[in-house]
C-alpha cells in the first residue's frame, strides 16, 4: 500500500467506506462538510445509501432507523450539529444499537466560529444526552490515526451495541497529511440477529426500543448498559506515550492539543528538561489506571487543552490528589502555539509545582494578560 495525501474530512469518510459503511445520513456544517460531500458521490457510486437530511435532527434519527435495521451506519457533524443530535443519541443509547458519529469540533458555545476547538469534551465524553449511558469516545491526533480509528469503530460499536464517537477538531478535518488507507471490506450481507430486519416468517420479531414504562425494566436496561460499560473500560483503553521512560513530569493532552504539546515537549527535551507526553486516545473510557500508576513516577501532571480544562477534571479524579496538577488552555477556537506550552514547561521545571488552589484558577489568573499581550 502507498501513502497518499488526504484531507482529514475526506480521509475519515473513505476509511468508513472501507470499513463497510452501508448508510450515511448527514447535514453540512463547517468544518466537517467535506466528509458529507465526499460521501455524497462515493456511496452512490458503490450502490450504498447517502442521504442529506433536512437537519441534524433528521440525520441522527435516520441513523437510528438504519442502526435498528442492522446497517453499518454513521453521521458526521460539528459542534452545533452535535447539540441537535443529543436527543437522538440518547434514544440510540437506550435502544442499544451501534452507530458511529464523527464530531469535528469548532469554537463555541453558541454559533461560535469554525476554528479548531475542544470545548465539546464535556458534552461528548460525559454524555450530553439525557439518562444513564456512556458513549465510547476516541480522539485521534493525526490523519493516519483518524483513518485507523474510524476503520475500527464499526466493529467496536457492534461488539458492544453502543455509540462510538470520534472527536476531532477543525484542524484535523481541514489539514492534509499522508495516510495509508486500509483494505476495502465487503459490505455485510447478513443482518445481525438482534436487528429489526425481515423475519421472513422464520423467527419471532425483534423489538428494539428505548421506552421502558416500568422503572424496574428501565433499571434492568441501565444495569445491562453499565455492565457493558465495565467491559469497555477493561478492553478499550488507548493512549500514546512520548519521552516517558525517563520523564520527571508529564504533559497530558489529547487530539490536537496533544500534538501541539508534542512540539513543546521536544523543544523542552532539547533544552535538557526531563518532560514527557501522555496522550489519551480513548478519552472515554479514560485511561484512569495509567494516570494513577504514573503518579508514582511523576512529580506532576501538566494538562493542556483547547478548552477551559474539561479533561483536567478527569486527570484530577484519576490522579486522586497524589501529585500536583497544572493546567494551560486556550478557548473559543484559538489554537495554542507550542511556544506557549514550552514557556509553561520551563516555568514548572524552574519554579517547581504549586499545590494550593485549583489549577483552573491559577490558569485563569494569567490568561487575560496572555490574551492582551498577543
Amino acid at each position: 500500500m502507498t501513502r497518499e495525501l488526504w484531507k482529514g474530512n475526506e480521509a475519515i469518510a473513505e476509511a468508513a467506506v472501507r470499513a463497510g459503511l452501508q448508510a450515511y445520513f448527514g447535514y453540512p456544517i463547517t468544518p466537517q462538510t467535506e466528509a458529507l460531500e465526499y460521501m455524497s458521490w462515493r456511496l452512490p457510486d458503490l450502490g450504498r445509501v447517502f442521504l442529506q437530511a433536512e437537519s441534524e435532527l433528521g440525520a441522527i434519527n435516520m441513523v437510528y432507523g438504519a442502526a435498528c435495521a442492522g446497517a453499518r451506519t454513521m453521521t458526521t457533524t460539528s459542534s452545533p450539529g452535535t447539540s441537535l443530535m443529543m436527543e437522538g443519541l440518547s434514544y440510540i443509547a437506550g435502544t442499544e444499537v451501534p452507530m458511529v458519529l464523527v464530531d469535528v469540533v469548532r469554537g463555541g458555545p453558541g454559533l461560535g466560529n469554525i476554528a479548531p476547538a475542544q470545548g465539546d469534551y464535556n458534552q461528548i465524553v460525559h454524555g450530553g444526552g439525557h439518562g444513564d449511558y456512556h458513549p465510547i469516545v476516541l480522539a485521534p491526533a493525526s490523519i493516519q490515526e483518524a483513518v485507523d480509528i474510524v476503520y475500527q469503530t464499526f466493529d467496536i460499536a457492534e461488539k458492544y451495541r453502543t455509540i462510538v464517537i470520534v472527536m476531532l477538531d477543525g484542524s484535523i478535518g481541514q489539514m492534509m497529511e499522508p495516510a495509508e488507507m486500509p483494505p476495502m471490506q465487503e459490505v455485510r450481507k447478513v443482518w445481525p440477529a438482534w436487528s429489526a430486519s425481515s423475519t421472513q416468517g422464520k423467527r419471532e420479531r425483534n423489538v428494539l426500543t428505548s421506552i421502558y414504562l416500568d422503572p424496574k425494566d428501565m433499571e434492568k436496561t441501565n444495569l445491562r448498559l453499565m455492565k457493558t460499560w465495565q467491559q469497555i473500560e477493561k478492553n478499550e483503553i488507548r493512549y500514546k506515550e512520548y519521552f516517558m521512560d525517563d520523564a520527571k513530569f508529564a504533559v497530558v493532552g489529547f487530539g490536537s492539543a496533544g500534538r501541539v504539546a508534542l512540539s513543546a515537549v521536544r523543544a523542552a527535551r532539547a533544552e535538557g528538561i526531563p518532560v514527557g507526553l501522555f496522550r489519551p486516545i480513548s478519552v472515554n473510557p479514560f485511561p484512569k489506571q495509567q494516570i494513577l500508576a504514573l503518579t508514582d513516577k511523576m512529580d506532576g501532571f501538566f494538562v493542556v487543552e483547547m478548552n477551559s480544562g474539561m479533561m483536567l477534571d478527569d486527570v484530577l479524579l484519576a490522579s486522586q490528589g497524589r501529585i500536583p496538577v497544572e493546567f494551560y488552555g486556550r478557548m473559543g477556537g484559538v489554537m495554542p502555539f507550542p511556544d506557549e506550552i514550552l514557556r509553561e514547561i520551563r516555568r514548572l521545571h524552574a519554579e517547581g509545582w504549586k499545590a494550593e488552589g485549583h489549577p483552573r484558577d491559577r490558569w485563569l489568573a494569567k490568561l487575560e494578560q496572555i490574551i492582551n499581550e498577543e
Binding site: 469554525i114 481541514q174 489539514m175 499522508p178 508534542l262 512540539s263 521536544r266 511556544d339
Partner: protein, 178 residues
C-alpha cells in the same frame, strides 16, 4: 529535522495549491508532512495562508509562530511574516506585488518579480510556482526532479492540461538570478 514553510498572499493567488505541491514533494521523499490551511471566512477575497511542515519524525503542532521559511506573495504578507521567520531562514518575496525592500539581514531573502515572470510565461496564476521554485533552489529542501514529480501529482486528473505551463514556471523559478 523539521521545516516549516508559511505561504501567504491574496485569496486566488494559489497559496493553498502551491502548499500542496510542496507537501507532495515531501511525501515523494518519504517524509512526514502536514499541510494546514487558514480556512476561516477571511479567505474570501482577503488574505490566505497555509503552513506546510515536513519532518523525519511524527509532526507535532500544525502551526508555528516562527517558520523556517516564508513565501510572501503580496505586501500585507511581507509585513506580517518578515519578522516571524527564524534567523537564517528563507524569505521569498514577490517584488511585483510589494513596494519595499526586505529589512532583515539575518535571513536568506530572495526577491523576484514572480508575477511578471509568470506573465511572460503567459499566465500570472503561475506566480506561486515561480516562487516555490525560488525557495527550493535557495534552500535545497528538494531536488528539481522531485519538484517536477510533485507538480505532476498535484495536477493529476482534471488539471492535467496545466502541467506543461507549470513545468515552465518551475524552470523559470529555478533559473532566476537576482
Amino acid at each position: 529535522m523539521q521545516n516549516e514553510t508559511v505561504i501567504a498572499g491574496f485569496g486566488g493567488q494559489g497559496v493553498l495549491f502551491v502548499g500542496k505541491v510542496l507537501a507532495h514533494a515531501a511525501l515523494e521523499v518519504g517524509m512526514e508532512v502536514t499541510w494546514f490551511p487558514s480556512y476561516g471566512p477571511e479567505m474570501r477575497g482577503g488574505t490566505a495562508n497555509c503552513t506546510v511542515i515536513f519532518s523525519n519524525e511524527e509532526i507535532g503542532s500544525p502551526q508555528v509562530l516562527n517558520p523556517t521559511s516564508a513565501i510572501v506573495m503580496n505586501q500585507p504578507s511581507l509585513d506580517k511574516y518578515e519578522d516571524m521567520v527564524v534567523k537564517d531562514g528563507y524569505l521569498i518575496v514577490n517584488t511585483s506585488m510589494t513596494n519595499r525592500e526586505v529589512k532583515r539581514k539575518d535571513i536568506h531573502a530572495v526577491c523576484l518579480p514572480a508575477t511578471e515572470i509568470a506573465e511572460e510565461i503567459g499566465d500570472k496564476r503561475l506566480t506561486n510556482i515561480v516562487m516555490l521554485a525560488a525557495l527550493i533552489k535557495a534552500s535545497d529542501f528538494f531536488g528539481q526532479a522531485e519538484m517536477e514529480t510533485a507538480l505532476k501529482k498535484s495536477l493529476e486528473g482534471k488539471k492535467n492540461d496545466l502541467v506543461a505551463a507549470n513545468m515552465i514556471a518551475l524552470q523559470k523559478g529555478f533559473e532566476f538570478r537576482a
